[in-house]
Amino acid sequence: MSPQTYAYALLLIPLASALLIACFFRRNGAMASGISVGAAFLLMLTAGHLIFRIENFAHDTHWIELGPLSLNFGFLIDDVAKLMLFVVAFVGFLIHVFSLGYMKDDPNKARFFGGLSIFMFSMLGIVVASSLVTLFIFWELVGFSSYMLIGYYFDKPSASDASKKAFIVNRVGDFGFLIGIVMTFWVYGTLDLLELERAVNEDPSKLSLPIATSIGLLLFCGTVGKSGQLPLHVWLPDAMEGPTPVSALIHAATMVAAGVYLLCRTGFLMTVDAVEIIAWVGIATALFAGLTAVAQRDIKKILAYSTVSQLGYMVAAFGLGTLVHLNHGASSHEAVVTGGVAAAMFHLTTHAFFKALLFLGSGSIIHACHHEQDIFKMGGLMKKMPVTFITFTIGLLALIGTPIVTAGFHSKDAILVLAYQQNSLAFYALVAGAFLTAFYMIRLWKIAFFGDPNSENAEHAHENGLVMTVPLALLSIGSLFGGFAWFYPEALKPVIAAGVQLNQGEGHGAAVGFGVIAWALGLVLAFVFYGAGAKEDRFQKILPPIHRVLSAKFYFDHVYNWYVANVQQRLAGFLQISEQLLLSGVIIKGLFAGVSGLVGIGLRSLHVGNLHAYVYWFIGGLALFWAIASGVF
């Protein structure tokens, strides 16, 4: 079979699964979950074949032509795409399996599994897409599947609001993304990724046009929305209203990382100015979200802010690495994988392992504690849920970058090395972020797992079945060894090895040294604060004003809510009223009444001549309008 057959299969399998469930098994949760998990398994096999047995390839079919616009539907499978494909298909399958246990008793689970299949379809579409338009189409579709799954418990007003918010905030990002696509078309004359790269290589002068920087930043707007970068991060913590497997798959491991993937796919369009801004946005996000996570009480919110923070690291990695490349590297863009892409994708991969693991672990906890999410109402879970405890701990150790033995250490190290080479302020900011990560995660860990149970629910917690623990175990392996190049099969090595190699670069000693100090400091401090488990937040007592700002998430939501209520709604209301008053009635009728009063035609015509007068006034007004418009006056 030709290579593209497998690529088509990647899209058609989950689509068929979703259609089957929607049409025939809406009420049959067991069948629906079976179909969806079976599709995920088939997808993993197909993806495996595509990754390991088939060389990199591109394939295009002509899709639409209109004037100068000619678009293909096609696939572009390169090293970066293969790595992403591996992450999506592998983590995706494990989360499907986990969901079998997690959603076991849910009466509407057919809708859940159908949604997961739609998600797999759209996400794989992003991974294999060969042009910006195709990518954008699937980009919008993952937004839709995310909307659908966040709003899974749609009768809960909070879930309904969160799903709406996620979609609209993402559309704000897509506003920029779409304009970026339009400008790309007019500047480079194509939207195909390979042709774009060729166009840039043939005529690098286009990159020095001022508009090139705008294009880079506008495309980055897509990332800001989807990957929850400042200031559009507000939807991601709220998205935790969805079922926990959804949070693990979509809002931690894959979809939110699609923004980073977009950057890696379009890296050759970036200019120095654009990349510099991108890097700082990433760094600011990493720090801001880390600080916010310190003061949250909801286990999923802590993990969500941690995700935002880690996505900041990935974006910063791309920015810093590309900056290194543009400033010092080869003048041509033809390098196989640039440092920025390698570091970003490396961290994306390890993060997918350990963050999915952490979310599934939290799901396991929430499931066991009868949907309690406040960590201060947990406590003492270590003894009740040993497997979850061990796997969660592994994920946590990887996230905080425990030296040598975890994947997170190596991928974070690569980013720190790039930062060291580029800018010392960036370097210290990212080290501070690493400190925060260690602090808030150990805080969570101590409070939830140690001490005595702080509530009824935690008292009765118990370990879950194998369908839920086996995926945890598999993800643990990735979280531990995913930082070593030998862990990966040959086909995935090009990108990973380039990432690992960064760790030998200039500034490696400083990166490791500061990284370990930050790690140790965060760890020790959290132990001091939350030593034997806690019922209340000690931090809140010591520094109440700072804690208040942090727990209010720096008031972003307050500002946006104020804007919506006081600016957007008022403007809409004002326009609505003026529409009613000015256009539909008062002016025309009022004028008529006034004039008729003046002329003394009186009340009679108001009754009798209503329709006629209306017509005359309308024609008169229109004639006037037309006369002015055509320049008679």
């Binding site: 002509h62 004037g67 100068p68 078309f185 403007l571 326009l575 529409e579 017509v615 037309w626």
Partner: protein, 511 residues
Amino acid sequence: MNEFSSLIQFSIAIPIVCAFLTLFVKNWGRPAVQILGVAGFAIPTILALLLWLWYDPSEPGGYAFVSNFDTGLGIIGASLHLGLNGLSLPLFVMASVVGLAAGIFAAQSKAENLHRYLFCLLIMQSGLLGVFSSIDVFYFYFFHELALIPTFIMIGVWGGRERNYAAMKVTIYLTLGAMLSLIGLIVLYSKSGADSFDLITLKETLAAQPLSESVQRYAFGLLLFGFGILVSLWPFHTWAPLGYGAAPSSVAMLHAGVLKKFGLYGLVQIAAPLLPQGVGLWEDWIIWLALGNVLVIGFICIAQRDLKQLIGYSSVMHMGYAFLGVAAMSALGAGGVVIMMVAHGLTVALLFQLTTLIHHRAGTFEMDEMGGLAKKAPVLAAFFVCAMMASIGLPGPGLANFWGELSIFLAVYDLRNWLIFAVVAGIVISAIYGLRAIARVFFGEETEAFQEAQKEIAVKDITWAERTPALILIVVLVFIGLFPKTITTSLNDALRSEPVYSQTASLEIDE
């Protein structure tokens, strides 16, 4: 004459024949009327699909299936000259499909005097198919009037709330718009010196000898505002939400979906190619007024509480994109307008149908008095989410809508660089009102008013009879989205043969 050209004549004639037959079979009972009515819509649809399949634009002017009848009006240069080109074919097919959906939905409605209701609707359908297949400008206008008059009657007789006021207002506005455009067309006829209403002749004459700048200015001005009123160009749009709010659902489906496109089609097919300079002279006007459609009406959509009004306003908003596509005077712009008209026609008809279904269940259009309907009617919710997502241009159900918007956005950037920011803001605005509507109607908890209403109405999910028209619309919409070449290949050829539409990327970038 082409061997299949009679199919166009049949598809115009069959609805009229069925219309009169329904009046005769009314004594045979309701099923006979229903079957005959649906047949009057279904047969033209099948014919239209066949024409789509067999389309081969080999005849003069890029037309296919051309036929010509002398109707005794040769003295003024008008004859019934029928045919389809790349611009009109997609609209002709869309009109037939929306007509079929509206017809099926009308046949199951509880309208009093169903046979008369279907009679009016069938006459309307005949007019619509005539509009898009007329090469003769006179008949183009004639068929529009043929479709318009039943609209007024149906709003006045079978309409809902405020139907008399709505019928009056719609009549005034639309008659005025039609009159202005008629004057514009007559100006074209008399000033061109072609002594013919035939579009192909007109084009040839005016290509050889274009009209002077001043004539172009006022002729295009007449057509712009005449057609503009018909397409609800801001600020001449107020008839639309009101009219659609009051109109019976099948009328709203057919009018918002198809008849409203008459004006845009007139601009793209007739006004712009014949008066290219006129478009340039009015360019700023079109841009600013169309921005009124996109931004002002967009915000007004956000403030709506009545679901049907919201759909009406949102359709007004989308027309802004179309006007901008016209102003761009490029293959991308004009092509985008045609794709958008097709996609929007299918989508808005779908939304009006589903809105009526929601009304059957909640007893109201007030969104504040609904909530939580997805629990009782999950499939209806899925249909509505799908329709709303299509309407706000989400590629997926709305892939066709997305193609239209993308082409227009590309064209708009070429027209004025800064304009793109204002226009693309529309995708955020439409997401806000679209998702709010979904959330308020279907998600969350049931409002007290809705619980109250349920004491009188037993809420059940969408039935198969109700699903049929919706499915027809969705299937065609998705098909065109997935396989856009089925319309863009011929569309592109037609646009290429119009020298006034620029083909190339100008690549001018101002900073």
